[in-house]
């Protein structure tokens, strides 16, 4: 590459892209240029895995425009204080080979939930595999993340060994290791325009203008179609050489991300900014140049890839485990869409796909069925005794948020036990990164990982004072108000026998309550950083001297990545279903315990479709058929039963009938649309 070669050792001033005011030029141990004046910090930052993220949001000027400009400037010249630039510049001089390692960000990779995304363990995995038995351990001293690849630098003699690791399984996911292609990800600083190298700020400004032109904020659409005919890009000389062209897209994505973080404050808003992307008519034969799109827009719903040159599934493989929320995909006018396996492959890859090449490939019912569990989701089971559990829960979480000490003094005693376990790999509601678990992990008693008896004992906290010590060290929390946000909670409760009688009077023990709570909380981190997480918490309450006449015997807390609340919203939600209401037994009485009450009673009586003593097999089968009719037609229980019993319990016939009669049915035949 001409630019890199020419500039590796010349003055920094002719490198528009990585010029930094006042930065002293330094050469590090491997002969790389270190542009950052603060050498000691820079060295420290060059530890493995530190990709030297640019501090795009730092800056103290009050004027937004000034700050924005600074941020952009800094981010583009961020190469100057990140190891990234050093590697890119110096790789020739330092005689290191670079390889890209992919696959570790795959959803199947168990390490990706590590606080650092698994980088650290990936590097030590690679070092181990690179090391010759009985030889000294191979070291990877330089690495950085680019999109979904970890780019590592190694001595040339290790290259062959390294490439052979390709295909090995790392934490459950196969790795792909290839020689690093410079052109693949070279950035703004090397985009020559019309023969001369413009300043990065200039390129950045042009790209920003281009994105602004192509982004429809209202429709959440980023239109990147037909790039070759865009006059602005032509003027920039983007398509004059293949090398420039291949650098363009990753650079564009970076500019997008930089701008986005200035426009939208919250990660959620950033995630939702774009739902649709079009890459129509871009002569794409594979995803090589555009693969970073999947990192920038992991939650994309609509993707137009039509009028490109994708030949087969292989050419799209890089996005196989990406875009988990994709609903619409257009690959029309590509050679691949003529392939007989095309539709099946895409349905298999994208579980939420509804429309493929403009044709409905999954109905709403099929989608719902896919999401549905074979065990129907019912309203919470809540069997309280004299509102004990209700009062306990009502008070518990606001006290836990605001006054943990007071809470301990009121319902915990010297025998109460608290333990905490962190499920770092739990499924998530969306693909955003999960905040690190550092503040919890040293107290996590996940018995899968904590296998030594001493550790199991030291992570058990029995008695008010030990629990106090732990709780005071855990991050501050804010749980949503139960009355105001009942849908965010799932709380169940029932009596259990066989607890120790604290008075010693009953040798066969006394009864108590088992309470299970699922919900979410905001963690208030350093600098008021807020991270939303999900939790599961189980209590055993027994009679005792605490507030409300209870004591906490057991309190087990499991924290995990935010997983939403959809899983416990009942699948059939029939607001205003009188018949169902009448047959529904013993609904819990208080709002605190019954999130579903707000959304309306369940559309089927409890236990409907489930075996029960005294229920005949025929009845059970019939109930199940009724449920199937309900789920496929959206009709109420009674109408569904009429439909299928009137057709001799033949599901097929009942559904055919429904299609014919749909338009003539009264509104009350249907369940209200679920919230």
């Amino acid at each position: 590459m001409r630019n890199a070669k020419a500039k590796g050792r010349t003055s920094a001033s002719d490198r528009g892209g990585i010029r930094k005011r006042g930065a002293a030029k330094k050469v590090d141990r491997e002969g790389d240029l270190v542009m950052d004046g603060n050498t000691s910090q820079s060295r420290a930052k060059k530890g493995r895995g530190d990709s030297g993220r640019s501090g795009a949001s730092s800056g103290t000027r009050s004027q937004t425009s000034g700050r924005a400009l600074d941020a952009i400037q800094k981010a583009i010249s961020s190469n100057s204080d990140s190891p990234q630039a050093n590697i890119r510049q110096g790789s020739r001089a330092s005689n290191l080979e670079q390889v890209s390692v992919r696959g570790w960000k795959d959803q199947k990779c168990k390490a990706r939930s590590n606080p650092d995304g698994g980088q650290e363990s990936l590097i030590s995995f690679l070092e181990k595999k690179l090391s010759v038995p009985a030889g000294t351990r191979a070291r990877i001293t330089k690495s950085r993340v680019e999109g979904d690849a970890l780019v590592v630098s190694i001595k040339p003699e290790l290259l062959d060994r390294m490439l052979k690791i390709s295909g090995f399984s790392f934490a459950g996911a196969p790795l792909t290791i290839e020689k690093y292609d410079q052109a693949e990800s070279a950035m703004l600083d090397q985009l020559p325009v019309n023969g001369s190298t413009p300043s990065a700020a200039d390129t950045k400004a042009k790209m920003t203008a281009f994105l602004a032109k192509r982004f429809n904020r209202e429709n959440k659409l980023l239109d990147l179609s037909d790039l070759h005919n865009d006059p602005d890009l032509i003027a920039m000389g983007i398509f004059q050489s293949t090398s420039t062209e291949s650098k363009f897209f990753p650079a564009l994505m970076k500019v997008w991300e930089l701008n986005l973080s200035l426009v939208f404050d919250s990660p959620a808003a950033r995630r939702q900014a774009v739902e649709s992307v079009s890459l129509r008519n871009n002569k794409l034969a594979n995803l090589k140049t555009v693969t970073t799109l999947a990192q920038t827009f992991p939650d994309l719903k609509n993707l137009d890839l039509s009028m490109n040159d994708f030949k087969d599934a292989q050419s799209l493989l890089a996005w196989r485990h990406k875009f988990e929320n994709l609903e619409l995909l257009d690959l029309s006018n590509t050679p691949f869409s003529a392939d007989p396996t095309f539709k099946d492959t895409m349905l298999k890859w994208y579980l939420k796909l509804r429309i493929l090449n403009g044709i409905e490939v999954r109905t709403a019912e099929e989608l719902a069925a896919l999401k549905k569990s074979p065990i129907p989701v019912q309203a919470p089971y809540f069997r309280d005794e004299g509102c004990i559990a209700e009062n306990f829960i009502r008070a518990f979480f606001s006290s836990y948020d605001n006054d943990r000490n007071g809470l301990l003094d009121s319902v915990y005693d010297s025998e109460s036990t608290f333990t905490l376990n962190i499920n770092t790999a739990a499924p998530r509601a969306h693909q955003a990164d999960v905040a690190a678990w550092d503040a919890y992990i040293k107290n996590s008693r996940n018995l899968l990982r904590i296998t030594h008896l001493t550790a199991r004992m030291s992570r058990t906290h029995t008695g008010t004072e030990k629990i106090r010590k732990l709780w005071n060290g855990l991050p501050a929390t804010r749980h949503p108000d139960i009355a105001a946000h009942p849908q965010d909670w799932l709380i169940e409760c029932y009596p259990i026998p066989g607890l120790l009688d604290p008075t010693g009077q009953s040798p066969t023990g006394v009864g108590g309550l088992l309470i299970t709570v699922h919900g979410r909380y905001d963690e208030i981190g350093k600098g008021s950083k807020i991270d939303t997480r999900s939790f599961d918490r189980t209590f055993v309450l027994g009679p005792g001297g605490g507030a409300g006449g209870v004591r906490v015997i057991n309190d087990i807390l499991c924290c995990r990545a935010y997983g939403g609340n959809e899983a416990w919203l009942p699948e059939v939600d029939g607001a205003g279903q009188e018949a169902a209401q009448q047959t529904t037994t013993s609904q819990p009485t208080s709002q605190v315990a019954t999130p579903q009450q707000v959304a309306g009673p369940p559309a089927t009586p409890e236990g409907y479709g489930m075996p029960a003593p005294g229920k005949s097999e025929t009845q059970l089968q019939q109930e199940r058929l009724v449920l199937q009719v309900m789920s496929q037609t959206g009709m109420t229980l009674q109408y569904s039963e009429l439909a299928i019993s009137g057709n001799g319990w033949d599901l097929e016939k009942a559904l055919q009938d429904f299609v014919k009669l749909k338009g003539t049915l009264p509104p009350e035949a249907f369940l209200a649309a679920s919230a």
Partner: protein, 162 residues
């Protein structure tokens, strides 16, 4: 009888929970005919997504006859002792606190993981949380050579949470 030490109790409870988790989920997946054997005859409340299931045999019946193939993956679990002098049933009644050994405990187990309903690995991973109370099986030391499960489910609450 001297009270059991903390070491012995922690070992007993965590070993029991580990053994349970390591055998119960594989049974739900591929050894469904044994499911009923995990439940105490006294099992009281058994819940799946809020649906009440009567007893161990009913759970087995559902899994054997009606359940799609399932793949469970336990990602985290923990346990605590609820009662360290659990009134284990005996031939003549119940063990009193004075008679309780280190094995006469009830154990609270909480499990977090995911489940896939269906055979394809491409199907969605649904997060679940499950709570159990385990109690000693008074007839674990059965007739020669026929050792039964040492710990049985007294109550169970399964919920999909993601």
């Amino acid at each position: 009888m001297a009270p059991a030490t903390e070491d012995a109790l922690t070992k007993q409870s965590t070993d029991a929970a580990t053994e349970f988790v390591n055998s119960f989920y594989p049974a739900l997946q591929s050894n469904r005919a044994t499911i009923a054997s995990f439940y105490s005859p006294q099992a009281s409340t058994i819940l799946f997504n809020g649906n009440v299931v009567a007893d161990g045999p009913a759970v087995q019946e559902i899994f054997v006859n009606q359940m799609t193939p399932t793949h469970y993956e336990v990602q985290s679990f923990d346990c605590q002792i609820i009662n360290r002098a659990y009134p284990t049933p005996t031939a003549t009644g119940f063990k009193t606190p004075a008679e309780a050994t280190v094995k006469d405990i009830s154990i609270l187990v909480i499990v977090s993981g995911f489940v896939r309903f269906g055979e394809s690995r491409d199907l969605p991973q649904r997060g679940f949380s499950e709570t159990f109370v385990l109690v000693p099986n008074p007839t674990a030391d059965g007739p020669k050579g026929k050792r039964r499960r040492e710990w049985l489910i007294l109550t169970q609450n399964f919920r999909l949470v993601v």
